[in-house]
Assembly symmetry: C2
Homo-oligomer: 346 residues x 2
């Protein structure tokens, strides 16, 4: 079957997704009987292009990667606004990849609402709408017989949210601990190798590991958003930003890192969620800085990697680790969500 | 909805499953709208009991745990054979939990065939039929619009097979490395702590970690079966037993273990599968003994734990670790498969 998608936002993740769609076109058709057509791409900086029969992605990518935006893509720019395109174009799934805003989740949340209200399924990698409005959006999706997927909001394409929802069905999750901010972890690992905090931050920035607003990583805001998302997915609990205890890695000195190593311990930025006594309550919701003994599964997560430890009633402890970011890795999260929508609905 | 299940084999795993069904009855009804009725339990030693309206599991468990078989269960023993019950009883899902036989996969394979031919779905934790006959059984299931699930055959309830099938959809798996035999790993870990091989084996036996035929664990046969299962699930390749290189931990001395530690390495029984150039071929299929550096993700797996490292084209490396065995852990694998059948089919 053919699935028509509309992509809103075409930065790293959108481009990574487009590359995967080009590379895997044949495999998707043969193995999953799925023909993905990108009927529109909407961006803030370059405008919007559409083709109801599917854009020629290789040409679009070449134009973008040459720094020409859509100018060399061979398509005319559209005059409609993003909202108008979401409301009027003929597509099956909206892929929402705009920049995260943790204050109000806009404009992404509005885009997602518009698509769901039309009965269109939505995939997003945007932490804002999921951290702030998950319950509302899931209800909206249900009402309109649509599906909302967001695997890429936590640990990129490393399967954790779908794992919690499907593969751990029937278990009672008691606690989750995780390293979910790759750039913090990269900086900590480099400090363990002898770098000063400032030099490690500089290196992480040069490698593209830090968000445009570095405070999101260094002060723990990104980890806070992921705590809010995990609270919703694993415990059905809606948290406000100020209900999550927060401490980022900013301010940690090389001396403190070395002292920890001397005791066979490591500093890690660890998120922590623990089920409370009452349904719908958490005993703990933290994005903090912790000193972990070498035996802790998360102490082994080095560099920009991410990891999650899930404690449940029957299975004492399950650990999943893998990439936490990356254009292709997060692009893959979208592709996986897309295949799961196609399998469920088609 | 009500799902009627017939359980064949009621050892540790069957009893673990039954306990979970009792404990989680209300949750299954409320959260998953699923009412599980066990309409029959068939065993080699205690005979068979049935109740078309669902057996009183607590009473059956009490009788079994008191060492009385089904004598105090309040049900009359049936005179039909296992095959007759599989062919004649009214049920939706056959839960096949008999003892693994790696030579021919019997009698389990025959039981599974009978159920699938009736269009009934099947869940098994039995490595024999899946290692030896996966392709045939999957074709049979497809032909009869039934589902075959077998998460519990590798790493008990730690979700790896379903993860490979669903959560990594669209990825090309290049290589898999894993520790999939918990008892070997337990023995190696204890030898690292100073025990001689024989003492560590004795301890593992006392803890119930070793299979009745200890050679399955110590000589690597159990790991070979899991290589064969992973070859089918991850690469679509059917392997014969003698196509898997095998070396178990038997014969390893404490001296060798200590020498490894002195070089910051550890001995691990590692399974290894690597995609070949041609579709349907593997470059490597091993259940061997390897010296791992401390940085290898599998070097961190201690005690009876299991872990799998999956290398793919887009996501470089994903690691999953968790329990590899246990009555409740493997019972949970069955419960998870059951919920996924109910979600897909109902």
């Amino acid at each position: 079957m053919t699935v028509k998608i509309l992509i809103v936002g075409f930065g790293n993740v959108g481009q990574g997704l487009a590359e995967l769609l080009v590379e895997k076109e044949r495999m998707l058709r043969e193995k999953y009987k799925t023909d993905v057509q990108v009927v529109g791409i909407v961006t803030r900086h370059w405008g919007a292009i559409v083709d109801e029969h599917g854009l020629a992605l290789s040409r679009v990518l070449a134009s973008v990667l040459a720094g020409k935006g859509f100018a060399h893509s061979g398509y005319d720019l559209q005059s409609q606004t993003t909202a108008e395109l979401i409301e009027n174009l003929d597509y099956d799934v909206l892929i929402e990849l705009t920049i995260t805003d943790l204050n109000n989740g806009e404009p992404a949340t509005q885009y997602i609402r518009l698509a769901l209200e039309r009965g269109r399924s939505v995939i997003t990698t945007n932490k804002g709408p999921i951290a702030l409005h998950l319950k509302e959006l899931e209800t909206l999706a249900k009402t309109h017989h649509a599906v909302l997927k967001y695997e890429g909001t936590v640990m990129s394409g490393t399967p954790v949210l779908n794992l919690i929802e499907h593969n751990l069905a029937g278990l009672e999750i008691r606690k989750i601990e995780g390293i979910v901010n790759g750039s913090s972890n990269y900086i900590l690992t480099r400090m363990e190798e002898g770098l000063e905090y400032d030099d490690a931050v500089k290196e992480a920035r040069e490698l593209g590991y830090l968000e445009a607003d570095a405070s999101a990583d260094l002060d723990g805001w990104d980890a806070v958003a992921k705590v809010m998302i995990l609270a919703g997915v694993a415990f059905g609990v809606t948290l406000k930003v100020d209900e999550v205890q927060r401490r980022g890695i900013a301010g940690l000195t090389r001396r403190e890192v070395e002292d920890a190593l001397g005791q066979n311990k490591v500093w890690r930025q660890v998120v922590e969620l623990e089920r409370g006594e009452q349904e719908g309550c958490l005993r703990a919701a933290k994005a903090g800085l912790r000193l972990l003994g070498n035996g802790h599964p998360l102490a082994q997560i080095k560099g920009a990697g991410n990891g999650l430890v899930i404690y449940t009633d029957v299975m004492p402890l399950i650990t999943v680790s893998g990439p936490g970011a990356g254009r292709r890795e997060t692009g893959y999260a979208v592709l996986n969500d897309l295949l799961s929508i196609c399998t469920e609905q088609c």
